[in-house]
């Protein structure tokens, strides 16, 4: 626990993890400061038909779209939507998945088995298919995208925590804590949870990237935020009909999605190298 500065230092020494962290910090900064950075904040939602589909220039850094809105500004405001969806969806999945994993891992009784079979059912269907089905049924909105993503992502946390807890239960210090008569909830919170924190953190980072990708796919299919919200996936979808002439209108949101997903994946992989107890044990002997 007190090793946090050491872990951060180790992480920054890994160039790809440092790059990932940089991209994510940039994303957060952009999302927070969007109204200040945006060159045409008013043009995000306003129509400006005279400036339709202009190529990148000094006024319009990434060009304009079919409504005449500045794509650069829309990308900046889109970062807010993307980040909100990813944080809330992964956070909700975490809140559902981790407690269920702890319970089912600690108690291998009928309750634990039932919970695991339920999560198996969710894992049996590809996430994107299930998410499409849910958001299609509920109608296109950001809230429903978040709901669909968290409902489909929690079993990944459950599986992970379940497996880690099962392995931890055989550790001597857990057996010793049981034999010393500490309350069960205390053992789970004090001794089990902190020891599964590392894989959870790694899974959060990878899950953010994965969730952003799925959210963009839903947006592309018209199941995300309704227009004219500057949702990156929807922006690509809207740019399709003007390809290849207005290439810039699809390139910018595509690059944004690519960079952010790569950032989270690089950071996740870097965190895995630094945090994963198995690899760490291997290094220290």
């Amino acid at each position: 626990m007190r090793a946090a500065p050491a872990i951060a230092a180790k992480l920054l020494r890994d160039p790809s993890a440092a790059l990932g962290l940089l991209i994510i910090l940039l994303l957060v900064a952009v999302a927070v400061l969007a109204p200040l950075i945006a060159t045409h904040p008013e043009a995000v939602w306003d129509m400006n038909p005279r400036h339709r589909l202009l190529p990148p220039s000094e006024t319009y850094l990434f060009g304009t779209d079919r409504m005449g809105a500045d794509i650069f500004s829309r990308i900046l405001f889109g970062a807010r939507i993307t980040l909100t969806i990813a944080i809330v969806a992964v956070g909700a999945a975490l809140m559902i998945g981790v407690p269920i994993g702890l319970i089912s891992g600690w108690r291998g009784t009928w309750l634990g088995e039932t919970l695991m079979r339920v999560s198996d059912i969710f894992l049996a269907v590809p996430q994107i298919v299930l998410a499409i089905a849910i958001s299609q049924t509920l109608g296109p909105s950001i809230e429903n995208v978040i709901l669909a993503l968290s409902v489909t992502y929690w079993p990944w946390f459950t599986r992970l925590v379940h497996a880690e807890v099962r392995a931890l239960k055989n550790e001597t210090f857990i057996e010793a804590a049981v034999a010393l008569g500490l309350p069960t909830w205390r053992i789970v919170l004090m001794h089990v949870l902190p020891n599964v924190l590392s894989p959870i953190i790694v899974r959060i980072s990878l899950g953010m990237g994965f969730t952003i990708l799925t959210a963009s796919a839903l947006g592309f299919l018209g199941l995300g935020a309704p227009p004219p919200a500057p949702e990156w996936g929807r922006m690509i979808s809207e740019a399709r009909e003007f390809l290849p002439e207005a290439w810039w209108s699809a390139l910018a949101p595509g690059l944004a999605i690519f960079l952010v997903v790569m950032g989270f994946n690089l950071l996740g992989d870097g965190l895995r190298d630094v945090l994963d107890p198995r690899i760490r044990r291997g290094n220290t002997g």
Binding site: M1, G108, T109, E171, T172, F173, E175, A176, A177, V178, A179, L180, G181, L182, P183, W185, R186, M190, H191, P194, N195
Partner: protein, 347 residues
Amino acid sequence: MATPGDNLLEVESLRVSFRTEAGTARVLDGVNLALRAGEIMGLVGESGCGKTTLANAILGILAANARHEAGRIRFAGEDLLTMPRRRMEDEVRGRRITFIPQDPYGSFNPLFTVGAQTFEVMKWKSPLRAPGAGRGIAGFLSRYPRARRRTDAKAIAQMLRAVQMPDPAAATGKLPHEFSGGQRQRLMIALALLPQPRLVIADEPTTALDVTIQAQILKLLKELAKSGGISVLLTTHDLGTAYEICDRITVMYAGQVVETAPVDDFFRRPHHPYTVRLLDSLPRPGRALSEIGGEVPRLIDPPAGCRFHPRCTRATAICRSEHPPVTQLASGHEVRCYHPLTEAAPP
């Protein structure tokens, strides 16, 4: 057997079985054991004879597939098997009966300081804590009462000196990996003694340590137990360990007690053929190592009669069909055998 009043712990015809895929294994089959207050009892036997199961049964932490079939475990006049689970967890386990694990290297959570883990135990198991205080939701929200924490901190500092931790003041701020195996076992002894228990169950506490450290740790455990009037149930497969510190020794074989005797009598006049063979298997200068032929029987289908008969050189027809009764020999010396070594070998 001694009168009930003298005994702190009495295990009476305890049967515990495990359901496995191959069938039901009777791991404890009619075990009797009596432990007086302040006595150090060695529980000796080969691996798989049921020592650890007996220790876990007394602590009430048997695995989920284990089943109590019969018998009683009386501790300070109360039957632990019929005691409500919450009371057992709150007032007995970790409080009046504590535990020293086998492997000191893995017995601390690697993420927290030794001090944090010691206070965590004391928060719930301090002798100053009222029984049942802060259970359920109240316990979930409760903090460590500050006055008690201060008093407990003094007790911890004193205990760390008692277990001869070098630099006890700095010890609480260190992480577990900063201690050697011997030091960690000293810490485990401190943790086991801090709740001021009446009985400590030590499950092979020194097998993972160097021989030179073993003797120090055993001596320390004996001194502290004797000065505090604490009973110790020490499971071990090492007769040397048992000889070092025990007052009495009980030998288990395949889930049954075969012989129990005061330590001097045990080593001078062993009666059960298995005990004799066990003692003969100790290496001694000028003599070839002697092993016990055969292996411990499977507990799913143990041999009929005396369970040792397939490996016993003195076995006769009756040993193969009838389970031998307990024979009282000299004071406190009991043996379960038709042909103990007091009589001449059968023809």
